[in-house]
Amino acid sequence: MKCSLCGFEFQENEGRSVCEGCVLAKSCSLIKCPRCHFELVPDSEVTQWERKLSLGAIIRSFLSRRKGVPGETPARAASGPSEILKCGEKVIPLPDLQPNNRGKIAGIGFCDRNALRKMMVMGVFPGVEIELIQRFPSCVFRIGQSRFTVDRELASLIHVKSSG
């Protein structure tokens, strides 16, 4: 988001981290600009974030990186993850997938740094195939030969492309 006072662009969790230690932080919906500490009203934060972190950002980052990276063969680039949805495909959160079904990871939803790090550890990257094994009481999924269990909150951050 962009600060309406000084024009600084920042991410919402950076803004939230300014409020760490504030007693009211939990119940307060305002966000402070990390540069000038002006308090802003979040403008439909989720869509903002969806734009930054999810599909769009990832498409852009993949496309732009493809161009000038030495050591990357163009063949890999072409067969790499493409986020263009085919007919009949839709993007859903992982827990909405039917158990024992597979999908390709489309992106990761709005989340803080720690959650993102967990995703990286588990190998949740766009284009990777993922299979949901179980939803209750916790989600269990498989990526490659590894199985992980995560709670519903983390699982919902994983957006998968499903043909069903």
Binding site: A57, R117, M119
Partner: protein
């Protein structure tokens, strides 16, 4: 140059080898292979929580070998993960042995890149090749070696396959003075290579870790590294922040994720050339897994495990039959009379006789409790426990209980220290390091100190209460209730965000008998070493107390609060024992109840009070070490009053309801 913030460690003349890698890939097995010692091996992530050092003789020279807690990446996600990186930064490691699970090559290779970015002396061990082959995986390790430019060794550490080759390589490297074998050209070239180069040049050379690696850590936003570098090169930190915010704000990217994604692309390219897989894999016990993980079958299985493993095996067989035999027959009939008569003949001084073989004597009380009561129970408990650990059941349990644990401010990850606490709370308090936030660590320390009885205690309680099943049920309900209510309120009181849960589920594995026996032996030995000196000390202090009459005074002082709980004055001594260790206190109850001094209600009340009572001194020291003395003291004071309060309340309820068990 060396940095102010970095601890200097004395160099050793021989080589130093660090074993690093993701959790649960077999690092500790490899460590045991190399050093011939035994450190704990279990089938769940987070077994090793501290740095362990050993010596190994390889090719005629001696090496220091270091086992580290598992880490997923060099940027730590929890407390114990960070210590492996500390080793790399602070000590001059001659060779890093990176162990990976071969069938997960693609996921684990990025850490190899990170290690290679830090230092050129890395060898890669593709462990668990047996499982990889069984699931149809084949890896062209020669090609991989060529692509990475470092030695790659396929291995099965539990059978010793590949160990000789690893030793050969270590010896060869040692002879060549550990000169780097590969050229310092980076494997992964990032899309922001120019920025990275620039940042690199701003960071002064450091002895153990390359500037490129430090620059990457800075870009990833690692707080600790940032603080350290800002001391020597504030420009670098400023530049890194500028690059970070530039990428984050104007291009919508998070540098850390971007770096990981780019490493991923390279691993995918490498894996596509060296890694081949036929069939589905899944492991030998794949089909059983479903039943453990589905709540409909998983919960009944849990109850069966508790009933047979804990109640029947540890409680009835261990604390009932075995203890009855060793204590009732071996000690009461033979050993005690023998020692009493020997000391009567050999020792002329009454008071010294009393110290060794009197009512509270070192042999007749201290050793008897340790060997006749604690030893059989603890041994059986750790046997059951090792089977559970090695099968891979605990991560499944963590998954099943995550939702319930969320209610008390913890996540499923905390299930493992809680279950370990049933073995020994001291050990378990150390394992709370694997929890990601401070809040979770504090809550679980409180719960371990208060409401998780350790094995010896549990066994004696089963033995005491097994004659009154209703009392056992009430005891379990009270302790369970206290566990959840305390957890719930500490979660409300302690600030911090909600715990979030993620955990790798290792495949179910058949436990190896040798590992179970060695592990049980090591733990029992450790437990006794902990317990025996303390029990002897207790006998000694009581002896002094009796000589100086402070003992009678203390007992008299305790009789009052004990009578509030509706207990007879004789039970004051059990509570005095309880101050030394909870299990010592319960052992005291065992004697009282055998003499028929306590009725059903009183046994129950005393068991509840002593279960919740202050933990042992060892745990108190551990609490200080892990949480700081303020938190540790606060926890102890709370526990002391709370345990009495609950017992008092229970007594009141039982009286009012007119229940007698």
């Amino acid at each position: 140059m060396s940095w102010a913030g970095f601890k200097k460690v004395r160099e050793l003349k021989t080589g130093k080898i660090a074993i690093v890698g993701a959790p649960n890939v077999g690092k500790s097995v490899l460590f045991n292979d190399l050093t011939g010692s035994y450190v704990t091996v279990s089938n769940y992530p987070g077994t090793t929580v501290e740095i362990l050092r050993g010596r190994a003789k390889i090719g005629g020279s001696e090496f220091e070998v270091i086992d580290t807690p598992g880490m997923y990446s060099l940027i730590p996600l929890s407390e114990e993960e960070g210590v492996a990186r500390e080793i790399l930064i602070n000590e001059s490691i001659d060779l890093i042995v990176h162990v990976i699970d071969a069938k997960n090559l693609e996921r684990m290779l990025p850490l190899t890149f990170e290690l290679l970015e830090a230092t050129p002396g890395v060898v890669l061990v593709l462990n668990m090749m047996d499982e990889a082959r069984a699931s149809g995986v084949s890896i062209d390790h020669c090609l991989l070696e060529e692509m990475l430019g470092i030695p790659v060794i396929p291995a099965v550490s539990i059978s010793g396959e590949g160990i000789d080759r690893l030793k050969e390589i270590i010896a060869k490297r040692f002879r060549s003075g550990f000169s780097p074998s590969r050229q310092a050209s980076p494997i992964v070239r990032y899309s922001f290579e120019d920025d990275l180069r620039e940042l690199e040049s701003l960071i002064p050379k450091e002895r153990h870790v390359s500037s490129r690696c430090l620059a990457l850590w800075l870009l990833k936003g690692d707080e600790e590294i940032r603080a350290r570098i800002s001391l020597v090169a504030p420009d670098a930190v400023r530049r890194a922040e500028a690059i970070r915010s530039d990428r984050a704000c104007f291009r919508g990217r998070i540098p850390e994720y971007e770096i990981a994604a780019e490493q991923r692309t390279v691993t995918r390219r490498i894996a596509s050339q060296v890694f081949e897989m036929e069939g589905e894999g899944g492991g030998r016990f794949f089909h059983w897994d479903r039943y453990l993980m589905k709540p409909v079958t998983g919960i009944p299985i849990l109850l069966l495990v508790l009933y047979f493993g804990l109640y029947q095996f540890v409680g009835r067989l261990g604390a009932g039959t075995l203890v009855g035999f060793i204590e009732g027959t071996v000690f009461e009939k033979y050993l005690n009379p023998f020692f009493v008569s020997v000391s009567a003949r050999l020792i002329p001084w009454e008071s010294l006789r009393d110290l060794l073989t009197g009512e509270y004597g070192m042999i007749t009380l201290g050793l008897r409790y340790a060997i006749a009561l604690i030893l059989p129970i603890v041994t059986l408990f750790f046997l059951v426990f090792s089977v559970l650990e090695d099968s891979g059941y605990l991560p499944r349990l963590a998954m099943l209980l995550d939702r319930a644990f969320k209610k008390i401010g913890l996540s499923g990850r905390a299930v493992i220290p809680m279950v370990l606490g049933l073995g020994c709370d001291t050990m378990a308090t150390m394992v709370t390091r694997t929890l990601p936030t401070k809040r979770e660590r504090v809550i679980s320390t409180v719960l371990l100190a208060l409401a998780v009885p350790c094995s010896a205690q549990l066994g004696v309680i089963f033995a005491l209460l097994s004659r009154h099943p209703e009392a056992l049920a009430v005891w379990a309900a009270v302790i369970g209730g206290v566990f959840f209510v305390t957890g719930f309120f500490s979660a409300c009181l302690l600030p911090g965000e909600r715990a979030s849960f993620y955990m790798e589920l290792p495949p179910l594995r058949a436990p190896k008998l040798s590992n179970i026996l060695v592990k049980t032996f090591a733990r029992v030995k450790w437990y006794l070493e902990e317990v025996i000196p303390l029990f002897l000390l207790a006998s000694f202090l009581i002896w002094i107390g009796r000589l100086t009459h402070t003992f009678d005074f203390t007992i008299a002082a305790l009789e009052k609060p004990v009578s509030w709980l509706g207990l007879p004055p004789e039970s004051a001594s059990a509570f005095l024992f309880g101050f030394f260790r909870r299990d010592y206190g319960v052992a005291g109850l065992y004697d009282l109840s055998r003499e028929g001094i306590l009725n059903g209600n009183q046994v129950l009340i005393a068991c509840v009070a002593l279960t919740l009572f202050l933990p042992c001194i060892a745990q108190f020291l551990m609490n200080i070490k892990e949480r700081g003395w303020k938190t540790a003291t606060a926890i102890s004071v709370f526990v002391l009053f709370f345990s009495f309060g609950i017992a008092y309340g229970l007594n009141w309820v039982l009286l009012k309801a007119g229940v007698s068990l």
